[in-house]
Symmetry: C2
Subunit: 591 residues, 2 copies
């Protein structure tokens, strides 16, 4: 549908005027804000605000300023007359060279305290232009050393110039100081802010879906339980071993008999109030009854608890004493709750942690990872695919614009194709291909002699080898495969008119394979009920979800993107444990 007056040219002109003004402002601000607003007490300038200026900081030459950071490498020169320190503060990939004379270092213990890799320094000095051909346009000539955080090279685990990524994983608290993990952290930050910027600027609201969920029927994978039962286990363990039903019955009988004895004794005492021995006998019977009752109480409690945990009569763990009054789990997806909010706010996205308790010790799996899940009302599969494509391409463009030096380093060290891949993806539309056509293409490849480990036929779930063949060899770029067989996809995906496929789509990219998975959701109440039943799941677990189809149902779609997969795709690194600050995997939740 064509709408409204188009004023494309005018908008374009305004945009470039703004861009020019902003560039000019940015340059002036870089001068103005040379002291970080929250480091004024120390007067620290961010190294990025010097080296990231368009002229590499040249116009700042002659300025007195302070930089603080960690020494990447330090070496004495001039027979100990001065030292060069490469100081990095993590604000950008580049380090600033600082030249310190012996005399300047004297008050803080001499040059030898400054040069070890890992030492922290805060230095005041004058910025100087470097000779032509030097890596950086400027260096700092120190006039004062204001802080030294010493670092013993003999024990510092990061002292060596190059460590393996495996080794660095064991030092997750220090590894962000390395070139690689520092670059990954900045790229990850870039992708996160690009994500928020993309969705916010397109009218999506950010929704925090819950991490703890009592719904164990999402069926998207094995779940972690969340509990406070272990906290009381020790105390409850002290209860007696469970009494059998027969023992309990016997005790209850004894209590009843004793209650009769109390009655009789009380009656006797009441009949002859003068007889003190009758009163005493009555008291003794009451005491015996109380003791028996206490014994029964303890036995009954013991029958409920076994070895520290409450049990149902069937012997199952009983979660009614647990924090949430029932079993609770860590979320595997915020989609259901995202749909609730999209059915009110129209366009929403989530960006939060997600969990899988699968015992997968691979380079592609984490027990804890971050996921982005947009959900859109009045949106069909076509719109959904467009959104996923625009989002991924926006992220690639953002990185090229904001993380150039980090990407250059990664490209040099790990994946020569990383920058080219980002540029290609940012620049060209994604291919689209129905699942049925994809299978035909794979079958043709097999006929042509291409070997796959997994057989190809209509109905299979595409394996990573198939996905990468499509993205890397056949389409040579991202491809969106859509309309999958219903039997290999989730129940909530909208059934197509052919009755055998659903309106699902996966974005496949080179290097990673599946990056995005999404679908139009089944918005017809009756069809959804049938699909839930056919999946063998209980309808009761989906009452809220069904309400959306009962009360003002709208066509809607969404997708999920594993954030670490996006970082892997952007950096070309091989192991997912290197692109999240603190990886959680089977057997390890260190740091």
């Amino acid at each position: 549908m064509a709408t409204a007056t188009k004023q494309d040219t005018e908008v374009e002109e305004l945009r470039s005027k703004i861009a020019a003004l902003e560039a000019s402002l940015h340059e002036k601000e870089a001068r103005q804000d040379l002291v970080h607003p929250y480091s004024r007490s120390y007067g620290r300038a961010m190294i990025a605000s010097i080296l990231d200026a368009p002229d590499g900081g040249k116009s700042l030459a002659g300025t007195t300023l302070r930089v603080g950071g960690w020494v990447k490498t330090g070496r004495e020169a001039g027979a100990g007359a001065f030292a060069f320190l490469e100081v990095n503060d993590g604000s950008c990939f580049e380090s600033l060279q600082v030249m310190v004379d012996k005399a300047v270092a004297e008050p803080v213990g001499g040059l030898k305290r400054l040069t070890p890799t890992g030492s922290a320094v805060l230095v005041e000095g004058v910025l100087k232009e470097t000779p032509e051909g030097t890596k950086q346009a400027v260096e700092l000539k120190a006039t004062k050393v204001l802080h030294v955080g010493a670092c013993d090279a003999a024990t510092y685990p990061m002292a060596k110039k190059k460590q393996t990524l495996e080794f660095l994983r064991e030092k997750a608290h220090l590894r962000p100081r390395t070139n690689t993990i520092g670059a990954v952290a900045r790229i990850r930050n870039g992708l996160a802010f690009a994500t928020h910027t993309f969705f916010q600027s397109r009218g999506f609201y950010y929704v925090h879906t819950p991490i703890i969920t009592a719904s164990d029927c999402e069926g998207a994978g094995e779940m972690f339980a969340v509990t406070t039962l272990f906290g009381r286990e020790k105390e409850l363990r002290g209860l007696p071993p469970p009494a059998s039903p027969a023992e309990l019955a016997k005790l209850r009988e004894k209590v009843a008999e004793q209650a009769e004895a109390v009655k009789t004794a009380k009656a006797a005492a009441a009949a002859d109030k003068g007889d003190a021995s009758l009163a005493a006998a009555s008291k003794a019977e009451v005491a015996a009854l109380l003791a028996l009752k206490k014994e029964l109480d303890t036995a009954e409690a013991g029958a409920l608890y076994q070895a520290g945990f409450k049990r149902t009569p069937e012997g199952e763990l009983d979660f009614r004493d647990d924090f949430f009054g029932r079993g609770a789990f860590l979320t595997v997806s915020g989609q259901l709750q995202g749909e609730y909010y999209a059915s009110a706010l129209s366009n929403i996205y989530t960006f939060g942690p997600t969990f899988r308790a699968e015992n997968s010790n691979t380079t592609r799996h984490l027990a804890e990872f971050w996921m982005i899940e947009p959900e859109i009302a009045f949106c069909d599969l076509e719109d959904d695919m467009q959104c996923a494509e625009d989002y991924v391409r926006f992220c690639c463009r953002w990185l090229l614009d904001h993380c150039a030096s980090d990407l250059a380093f990664i490209t040099k060290m790990y994946d020569a194709g990383a920058v080219a891949r980002l540029e290609q993806v940012a620049a060209s539309p994604f291919h689209r291909c129905s699942y049925t056509d994809a299978i035909k293409k794979l079958e043709a490849a097999v006929k042509g002699g291409r070997k796959f480990d997994n057989a190809v036929e209509w109905g299979i779930d595409l394996a990573t080898e198939h996905e990468r063949y499509l993205a890397e060899e056949l389409f040579k770029g991202p491809v969106i495969v859509h309309d999958y067989p219903k039997d290999i996809k989730a129940f909530y995906m909208k059934l197509n008119e052919d009755g055998r496929t659903v309106a699902a789509m996966d974005v496949l990219v080179p290097k990673v394979g599946e990056l995005v998975g999404g679908s139009q959701r089944e918005d017809r109440y009756d069809v959804l009920v049938e699909r839930i039943k056919a999946s063998g799941m209980p309808l009761e677990g989906y009452e809220g979800y069904l309400d959306l189809r009962r009360y003002g149902s709208v066509p809607h779609s969404g997708f999920g993107l594993g954030f670490e997969r996006l970082v892997l795709f952007a950096t070309g690194l091989d192991n997912i444990r290197d692109v999240i600050p603190f990886p959680r995997v089977p057997g390890s939740a260190a740091f």
Copy 2:
């Protein structure tokens, strides 16, 4: 320290030029982007892009467009000749009035299908100016109804015009369709994006600190355990009851005796190879040995497991079989890991979920909430306070600029002072007051006849009544209290030179009390070790944390802000369960 050339005036001028150009661009874009980019198949315009235009959409009059959303109220008029629908799509607070003629509604089942509250509609029509004095500047005259998602008013839980917030909590999946929760969702989104914008524009990197942690010694509150042990409990429950050490010893003895018997029988069989009965006897002894060994294995396993859980010899739960090979918990703070990254990237912030397993059924506590934790290198308490103040004021300004109608509604319905409070906070610097002075002021108030439930003397932890007195009555605005007694604050806060206070600060605000808690961190290795020991905690749990002070230690500071507290402060709502989409509290993890 004074730095660099200041070009304040020029920067200011450039900024206002840009602002003017951006406003002009925004206006033109609103016309251009009238169809939401991911609703093109349905041609849906966001209602915000019509009503949020500076002229309220007047210049769009005469345009044909489509809107989709949910009917807030619908009523037939003109004796059933037409109906007015108030349609809301959640993109903004306001609803758009849609006028539908009987004939237009005929193909979709008549006007009665459209008017019930909660019905979903997608309507095409022509935008018309409304008469002067009407609430909105425009309304839509429908020419076609493209979608109806019916809603049965008899059963729809949100059909009534006004429901209590308590009732809405029971319908967390539908409550974002209400005015209040819709406004809260947009305000919450505004504060979240303001948070990212504030930190990103000041050179902070966003770091995802882990949710699952194996560290149980953070001491910040009770923790939830994360486990996969319940998954195997049923299977392991089938093991025999634990054998006693004596029984196990006896079995082991039997196995040894039988091994001897096997040896003897084998020797006999070997000595006389012709004797088949000897060979058979040897075989029988071997079989008996194998049976005994199996019995021992089962008994040993049974001794390890009890009622489905592995036990140590001391009877404690043994987590070596658990997913992470040890006990694991949900994080109570990302501060430690934030410090790791700040000691490499200089300025970082976290924004993620945080957990407390405290059994607090109050209006101010959640078991799952979101927290923002910046951490800054070369930053002292003064800088830290400035950062917290700038951040909170930035958020208030952002809301006033971006969520005006939502705030207006909240102010009208819940807290007449909400907007004024935001304006005051955005406009004026925060007061500062040392803890010692705060106590003096409280003591003076007590002398003057002010009553508090909690006694006032140097050394107490300020109660909420004290905090609110300071912020609401004494300073009449936000106040930062700093330099608290060391005994009421955490071990990692930097010890001041007086030896009895630490460099801690709390931001106290009207309505909420404590909004932010922060400190300069102890960066001296020896002092930190002493402080950990004095807290009675094991040093081993802090090896990584101590490494930061061993290798290139820098002065650094940070703070934590509970995001839901900020939303409470901004909206003036009373119950924290109403400002998070899906509240998790003792006894409930619904939806």
